[in-house]
Subunit: 446 residues, 4 copies
């Protein structure tokens, strides 16, 4: 676990936030408690860890606290801002865009705000994507819609070309909303700008629907995607109960971590088996999924399985031999794999089953943000603008201990977060599903 | 068109409702306008057709009007009822069950009501499915949930075995909720009971999420499934707009008719191409989908395609030669087919596209009924009970000209309804999508 | 009942649709079955009524069928259209606007389409409301929102002033979306235009969230408002069950008719008492609401009451004496009245109750249209445009026997429709609530 | 601010958790990281505060960390548990009940679980409310519904009577879900049990829809209520935009703090004025609400006002003189007050306005929990059971720095939390609404 590493080796983790220079201007932000750069949020929440760190004599790991600074670096009157969205859709993108525009415009008086189209492509002249000119009027109702009004693209572009564009357009405030690839791209832009000695604040707003960034407790859009999964699980449950030995299978997002699958299972606790990348399982054998399923069906005659995209990837090598006609796409699709394997097994065993497979795919990332996410997005945006105006760069806005924080990009992208299998959430999943009992062949549930 | 046939050859259509015998008992239903058996709802709504029929001297096609009869056949005190649900899930099943139970219990005083489990299997002893004993308390809140509390199964069972069960359980009122296969099963039961001289009313409540039964203007659950499709289309639209040349593809139910796809397109009119079984199309060629799509992308850089399951089935024969490794399931899946073909074409043409495929599959049939369907289900159930108590049999409850009607099973299952391509709905789809213009290569839309 | 009058005195009802003149131009609408003016939809659906009418020798009541005409009156190239929305909000207003714009633009090529702001005020120069110029792009996503992009106002304006504006702006196609006041205003405009010999088609699209127009089976927005009421009733039910002798009261729209209250009760059948203007009731006495409520509480310890706005208005005279300090608004508010009366009664009787009053008020009319309404709105709009282009005027688009029809304004506004207390819907409400049993003091329900 | 007091006077705050005795039994919980009693979550998150506290030599404020203990106090085989819900409804009550039952049953093997009906009344014999016997089957789907299956009541009962009942029923684990009144009741029970030397663990699960408990960062149900408010605000916005000088007023819960109003404003940022108890305002005068509203209407011709229940209470004293006929209820109703005052003012000024007042009242607390709340509830329940089994008592489960914590009841009920007017959320509200600018008469927004 990376967090244990911070406690044990804090010297390996740099929490310092780069700045473009001295803040020489008074902030136009009114009536706020300003935050000083030396206000810090403690990384460790447990008293024993705090004591251990203090006794070690090593640097004490803590995040710079986000918020408005009394003095700022960029002159609002001369500032040009740009916003872009990269990678896959995520609920809340429009909320963040709206927030950035509103705070720049109203709190700081920055009125030249470009919306670069199609992610980093919008910063490369040869693509020919004209930027939008963003105003509070234009963004007034965009929070009611999913998607992103700026559109998106995948992949990074050459930092040199992008900084050329920033220079040509006189942009000194750049907000990049995206996942860790995007954030690395933002870092490259920040470094290229530094190389050219251009005072451009590059601020990332971390986006990962899978909620798997390190050093950031919650990423926007995640709760909405879990909520959108709730009703898909209800449908699978209705299908499972609607047939003799009905089996509803739901595949949810989560390539490397199963946060969505686990959270959705806990939210709509009618799930019998929750399969995540963090926990390997087998199909065959006494402790395999098929045996567990058989026990379940014998007692209840229906079952609901929720699988994260990345679950059971270990099964594909062994399956490859007998499934070679299935083609590449099918081979890694755990949902279709489960459906086919269960059907084949049931046929062989002479068990009547009715397998119903639901793959909401893009739906759960394309919906509008639910309220908790909407609020979170606005506050992320607000703090991103404060950081930018104060001349911070090469950083993202994070959230830690319910404070908004400044996190160096290098820290945020260092390693993906995984479900803590000994933590409360996963234990909640196990207590809600009882799946370990069914795998173990010992179903105590009447 | 089958409806034109009725006008021209009414003698070929028998609207007569079989009855078990003379209604010798006063109805316990209070304070209602009772309906006489000779009240009829005219089949033809257009004056010219009515005149034509009257002048022909042939039998005048009209439905017996549904509703409570002043005198009834079955003695409530001695009646035993059974309800079952067959085939795929459909929004509103629980609403119908609740309605049948409430009206039997409260309006007629029938208090022995069995819920047979797993469709017709529940009427076959060797399956061993115990029936539920249904009461108003038990069904009080089931209308809030999708699915069916009775569960379902596919396929019919031997009428002899089923009537054995009905005899053994003394059931004289049988309500079968299901599609045309189920209704044919109900007809077989009614005929077997007649053969044995058993006075069993067999009443069908027609269920087809595709809304494609003849002689029945609306089937329950259809509007809910359209409504559930609305937000999937919004997601596809967000995905399409969220990427350069983004293409959102949504597959919706509709094996033989495209009512759901067409209605959902009209409801959420952001769709660019609506593909239904009733209209053939080609992929290649100047008037093919790919050319139309290319024109659309050139102008707008995004497109949304909605395809009914049964659309484009003509394309698979020609495609078979080059797609033989894909297996049977893939071969007929128009959604995956479109996704693969469009990706292959774009790659070949060097066009950057981002294809996002959404298949809500079982989700749109597993949700709870929206209010218009909920009301419709209750009224269907109410009229089904009235018909049963009056000794009608071998019939279904239909809806025509906004009246509830009695429809002989033979009529209801005679032929599937298709979209009228010259009718208002399809023309609405064409005006909302402008797809014919894009197919024709003549996009007048700026 | 007005409908019985039509059967008995058809000569008193004029179904004739006025036209501006001869249709001299070929329709640009492509590939449609055109409808002839003499195609008619029969008013009577019951065979016995049809025969009676035919034997009477009186004029046969029937609606002109809506749809595109092969030949049209207005030259699209020279046509200027205007659309306006009047009166209270209703779900689907934006859908109708979108439909009118799309069909005018795409099907007929009319590209000058004004959106008059704030209802009829938008046709009166001195208000100074600039019209919107409507295009398919502008209206592309408005169907996703409730409300109306054109805004609205109450009350009519002088026809002379409005026709002045129409003349000055060269408008020959006017679409008025509103209730019966609005439609009477449209009639006045049509008559004033006729007086001036101006060929202006004035087409009404009838809007009444209460669904109480005569000669029109369904009005748009009604189903959505019922659906929005569903969850409010669920909340009232949760509140009622959540306390000892919990009583949830929901007030719903319906000044003169109780269609929303009755339909919502049938849709979410957890209601115990559904109070509508069509059925008088008393508070006190053996058969009064309080006694019925007491019986219900004794057995179940909770109850849900749904009241239409106009229910129980007979009660206010007697109550006036002891409630004179309450002011005018309170006096007629059946919701607050019930809450106060029940609380006072319970206090007097020494019964512990927990009354929770929910008044969703404007909420249920401000939401976006659900799919069935959305589709209905688009088709209403389509047929309104066809009627206008064919030179019809002084009429509204109706719906009868599932056909869209032309209805003279004088007919549509003749009398408000009420719930048929002997019809299926109200009987469904009685069977779902059992309220008559509780009023009667004879609760057979365990 | 109470939190500042903790930093400055930590000695005045006792974080100690009472226990019933030594934990002598091994926990049956499988495969978990057990938590030791001396694991603590730091109260202060800011490094400077931590240092200050450490240097003060005073007791270091920190919460005991929640979670399963390796050794437990109560013997599961002999344990009897009871759960009850008190006070007003709140989304998530059923989720907490389900969680407590599942974890007791499956993780610890406690199979005697009573659901006391109607809050503390259920612990007083003379009310005669029979308890439910709760099992995992019974609670399996209750999380899908709002309300509480145990029903509720307001007010406390005599601790002596309640402990009599607990003794008679041999209950050693008591879970009280409720607000601060309820928690004080729980404290009284714990103390009475201690007086009698009965080893009863009394664990509170704090419920406050207003999210205003101290020492607990988030209370369940709050996010759902904000989310349910979102669409009411959209309706108010549609109403406001739908009329000339349309004014939509929404009253939301929040007697003493405006968290719901502020959060809902930030979530659906179409609000123009957000009025909360924490900020006084006047109606009249250059900086009053009416003047601000007038400026807003002059520019935009519509406005949306969201008011927390407790906002503007200072206005009622002055209003009392001229409003004495309105009665007690009306006098303190800020929503009706605003509606009346604005209408009176507009009439006097000759300004045409259309005021629409929406009071969702009980609706937003009666809906089912959205997913983030559902998950939170399950984890609260899980940790409550762990605490109870380990013999903790007189405490509630809290949440701090994203850890679940043990909080003494005395601490949790010490003082209500208010919005921090210098914090990020309120500043977000100000930047989203610009209301201070409009109050100040200086609307810079074009």
């Amino acid at each position: 676990m990376i967090y244990a590493d911070v406690i044990n080796h804090p010297e390996q983790f740099d929490f310092t936030i780069p700045t473009l220079g001295r803040c020489a201007l008074d902030s136009p932000v009114k009536g706020r408690d300003f935050v000083d750069d030396d206000e810090q949020i403690v990384f460790a929440s447990q008293v024993k860890n705090i004591l251990k760190l203090q006794q070690s004599g090593k640097p004490f790991p803590a995040f710079q606290k986000a918020g408005p600074r009394a003095r700022i670096f960029h002159d609002p009157a001369w500032s040009h801002a740009a916003i872009l969205t990269c990678g896959g859709l995520c609920p809340g993108l429009n909320n963040v865009i709206k927030g950035v525009v509103n705070v720049l415009w109203h709190d700081y008086g920055v009125k030249t705000i470009f919306g670069a189209k199609f992610g980093y492509q919008g910063l490369v002249a040869r693509y020919g994507h004209s930027p939008l000119h963003l105003t509070p009027e234009l963004v007034d109702e965009i929070h009611e819609e999913g998607g992103t009004i700026l559109a998106s693209s995948r992949g990074n572009q050459k930092p040199e070309e992008m900084v050329d564009t920033l220079e040509r357009m006189n942009i000194n405030l750049l907000f990049c909303i995206g996942g860790d690839g995007t954030l690395r791209g933002a870092r490259d832009i920040a470094e290229e700008a530094a190389r050219r000695n251009r005072a451009i604040s590059v601020i990332g707003i971390p986006k990962t629907i899978d909620n798997d960034l390190s050093f950031i407790e919650k990423s926007f859009g995640f709760e909405t995607s879990v909520h959108a999964s709730f009703e898909i699980i209800s449908s699978a449950h209705n299908e499972a109960e609607g047939a003799y030995n009905g089996i509803g299978i739901v595949k949810l997002m989560g390539r490397d971590s199963g946060f969505i699958a686990a959270s959705a299972t806990l939210a709509n606790s009618v799930v019998d088996f929750c399969l995540v990348p963090e926990v390997e399982f087998t199909m065959a054998g006494e402790r395999g999924l098929l045996a567990a399923l058989e026990r379940k069906l014998e007692k209840f005659h229906h079952a609901v399985i929720v699988a994260a995209e990345g679950a059971g990837q270990n099964l594909f090598n062994s399956a490859e031999v007998k499934k070679d006609a299935s083609g590449n796409i099918l081979k890694n699709d755990i949902g279709l794999f489960l459906k086919d394997e269960i059907n084949a097994w049931a046929k062989k065993q002479g068990i009547e089953v009715a397998v119903k497979y639901l793959d909401p795919s893009y739906h759960i990332r394309s919906v509008a943000a639910i309220s908790p996410d909407a609020i979170f997005c606005y506050l992320l945006a607000e703090n991103a603008v404060h950081a930018a105006m104060a001349g911070k760069t090469n950083m993202v806005i994070g959230n830690w201990n319910n404070y908004f924080t400044h996190v160096p990009i290098s820290l945020a992208t260092r390693q993906r977060r995984k479900i803590d299998l000994d933590g409360a959430m996963w234990k909640g999943v196990l207590s809600a599903t009882r799946q370990e009992d069914w795998f173990a062949g010992n179903p105590d549930r009447k």
